[in-house]
Structure formats: C-alpha cells, structure tokens
Symmetry: C2
Subunit: 283 residues, 2 copies
C-alpha cells in the first residue's frame, strides 16, 4: 500500500503513517498538503495522512478546506505524541554544539531547553526533518538540528538529547484519507462540517439533533466565514458512523437547520491508551 | 499609554495595536507572548495586545493558556486583515530579485506568487518584520522580504508588490489585555473558558443556559485536555457583558454543569465594517 504524507522523510506525519499502517507500507513524501490530496484523488496512492489538529497549535484549517475541495473520505484517525530530539552528526556531543537549526515552531516548542544552553545560536529551517538533512550535509560537529528520533535514524545521525520539548502534552491528531468509504465497525467516530446563519439559539437547535438521540460529541469548533461575518462553519466529530440508522436520522434532521452540510467520513475511534504507550516508549 | 506586543517593530501585532488605540500610543516590543503578559501584569505597560485566532491557521492555544495563567482581563478585540508585501531595498525592483526571506508561514501563504517567479530562492526567517531588517542590513538589491507595508515604512524600504497572499480571506483576531475590568457598554462580547466531563448531552445542557435566555454565541471551540482523554476545555464567546444581569445568571447556571469556569473578560464588539475598510485601504 502507498501512503502519501506532507514533508520530507523523517517528518512526524511519516511516523504517524508507519505507526497507523505498520512498517510494511510504502510512503510517498509530498511537498504540500494539496499534493497529498491530489495523489490520493488520482489513485497514485491508496491512502493519505494529514494532520488535522495539534494540542498546542490548534486546528489546521488548511486541511479542513482541502477536505471540502477534494471528493475524498476520512477513513481513520491517529494521535501522535510529538517528542523532539536534539540531533547531531555521529560522534558529536552536546557540549560542542554552537548552532541549532529547526522549524521555528519546533524551536519555540523547545525554548526552555534552548535557553539552558549558553552562547548557542538558533537558525530557522523549513521543516524538522529537513534540518537534520542539512546538518548531515554540513558534517560540522558544532551544528545540531531539532526533529524526531526517526529523522535521526533515517539520516544515520546521533540523538544528543531526547524529549527536549517544553511540555509533554504536545500531540497531533492525524486523519487518514481515501477515495472509498469503509464501514468502520462499532466503535466509530464521524466528522462533519456544516454552515449556519448565526441566529440566537441556532447552534443549540442544531445540537439537539444529537443530544436528543444520545449521540455523544467529541469535538466542536466554530469558524467564522470570511466576508460573511454572521455565518459560521461548524466542525463536529460525533460518536457513531453513517452506517448506523440513528446517525443517519440525526444528519437528515440537521439538514433542516443548516445552509450547507458535508459528511467528511466515518472511521474507527483511536484508542487513547495507545497514545500513552507511545509516550512511554519515548522515555 | 504603553501597549506591549510580541514581535519586532513592524510586526502585524504592532499594526493592530496602532489601529486599535491610535498612533499616539507608545509600543513595547516583546520577544515572547509570555513577556507581553508579564509586563502588563507588573504594570510596566497599561495594555497588551495578543493574537487569539487566525482565519487560516486557527486558534492560538498558547495565548488561551496564558490567559488562564495570568490574572488579567480581556478588555477589547480587533480584527486585522493580513496583507503581505514583497519588500526590497530602495531602488530595487522585482525583476532583479533572486532570493526572498520570511517566516515559513508567510512564505507558505504567498506560495502561488512565489511559484510565479522563476529561479528565485526562498529562505526561512524568524519573523516577517525581522526579515525586512535583515534585507536592509544586507543592502543587496537581489534580496527581498515578505512582511507588512508598515514594516517597509519603518525600515525605509520599498514595497515591490503588494497583496501577494494566496487568499484575501486571511485575518487575525486580537484581544486586548489589562489588569482592570472595564464596563464595555451595550454592544459587548464576553469570552469564557470552562471544563466539563464528556457525557452524552453535557454540552447541550451547558449551552441551554445561553439559548434559553436568548444569549447569542459568536464562538465555540472544544479542546481535549491532554492526559484526561474524556474531559474537555470549551472556549465560548457570547453576546453581552458580565455587567448585565442576564449574563450573570447564565454564568451562575453554567457553573452547575462545569468542573471549572473562568470569565476571561467582557469587551466592546468589533464592528466588521472596519475590517472591510482596512482591506480596501490596502488595495
């Protein structure tokens, strides 16, 4: 199976793909998120994996927008604990490091660790895995990168220090996209997007279609529609799948209140005990 | 009045501060968001301005977290249309540009424009305004930066092309923080954060305290609590202020359903017609 992800080999998205599908897959690195959607749409990859929200940085609207542009289905979800490592060339050591490269977001997420290193310069790079590649090419034992442990392994580099992020509570939720809908079985979630005019009580009425049928919500987010200040998109994840009659009836009911409704997909619910285990592996 | 913002002179946060308070204020650039909260808490600045959500990138959870850590009040909001310019040293021109610097997010937001320029390299920088400073220091007519028009003015640089972002629908919402609560008057909004255990229908019950009192919601967002997979934070903005009895009663009612509740502040509602005007000024 071919799975497309955005980034260079060693990116966190690639780690998520391998953890979700197993090491047997072939991965297809793509330069942009749009390209991930494209290669899956064209059938060149059977699946794509996209980050949809991060516990520190929030929802990634760009991928929600692409889910509306491309006729693809969400068929899975995965939560990856983000754990940054300081990575240098083989034989280098922390005390010799004078310069550290990484994506500005990763540098910011490790700024407490970076402040503890006196006289060390930081330099921004396009992405975490890419900064490891640059350090490898420089062959300079005084330069290091911040990226995943997997990026260090791929490029044959040394992990100088692990778990250097400010907060361990940093995880990214990924969704798996495919051209075909699949029955997710019993313990499922469904992602939907809908638009509504903002009248007092409109959202409450919309949520009644789930609450009065005892359908649990696991995510809700409003997003103002630019240019239409009083209209909103709502992103909701609910317990259950579109293969269940109760959910079908709730969605039919919801359509009475919305100006737009799209089901992004139904998929097996991620078991959070797996996230905890992934974190322990890193320690 | 002293107003603290995160970033270098010419940052978008500084533009928002000047647009909100007028050109008469003194601005205090801070290296981090935490520093903005600190200088306002200590009384060294009367106000701070923080980005709280972006229409492309989503909510900025880091600032929501800081609002819970510091005993400050939200007393205002402002929406700024983000419009990127290509900026070079005086006398340079677009056809000579061989390299462009900016924050990776700004480079990504302008990638359609960048793809139209053949053979031009891009390089990441820490922030947009900082990339203008670097280009000014280089004095090289073949290097340009991507930043705000204001950043070009501050550094005495030329705008080579304006409005180079992929989508005009790119705006950032800012909140103003202060040590003291202020009566926002009639057309107000209130921002609150609360936590709830995720039981089916719990959110619906919580929202009833607003819907049944005809209190309009303008934002709702759930955020999973890391380490507590079935508990959520909810961020809600509602129409009205804590100086109104109806809102006070709704919040007292809400406390019956929540495990945690904090009012971040009440403030005058931003008039969206001002956002449209700001965009037209840029064209």
């Amino acid at each position: 199976m071919f799975v497309a992800f955005q980034g260079e080999p060693g990116a966190y998205s690639e780690s998520a793909a391998l953890a979700y599908f197993g090491e047997g897959i072939k991965v297809e690195p793509c330069e942009t998120f749009e390209r991930v959607f494209k290669v899956v749409s064209e059938g060149r990859c059977e699946r794509g994996i996209i980050p949809i929200e991060n516990s520190v940085a929030g929802s990634i609207y760009q991928n929600y927008d692409l889910l509306l542009q491309f006729p693809l289905e969400v068929v899975g979800e995965y939560y990856l604990q983000i754990s940054h490592c300081l990575i240098g060339i083989p034989g280098s050591s922390l005390k010799d490091i004078k310069k550290i490269l990484s994506h500005p977001q990763a540098l910011a997420q490790c700024d407490r660790f970076l402040k503890s290193l006196e006289g060390v310069k930081h330099e921004p790079a396009y992405d975490t895995a890419g900064s490891v590649r640059i350090v490898k090419e420089m062959k300079d034992p005084s330069v290091a990168a911040i990226a995943s442990r997997r990026a260090a392994e791929i490029y044959g580099m040394d992990v100088l220090t692990a778990n250097i992020e400010n907060t361990a509570a940093n995880y990214t939720r990924f969704q798996i996209i495919s051209r075909r809908r699949e029955d997710p079985g019993k313990d499922a979630k469904t992602s939907i997007v809908f638009a509504m005019k903002n009248q007092a009580g409109a959202l409450y009425r919309a949520l009644s279609v789930f609450a009065l049928r005892d359908i649990d919500l696991t995510k809700i987010e409003s997003r103002p529609l630019v240019g239409k200040p009083w209209e909103y998109f709502f992103y909701i994840d609910l317990a259950g799948s579109v293969f269940e009659e109760k959910v079908q009836r709730a969605l039919a009911n919801l359509e009475e209140y919305t100006t737009f409704l799209r089901v992004l997909g139904s998929y097996p619910r991620f078991a959070f005990r797996d996230l905890v285990k992934a974190a322990e592996d890193h320690d």
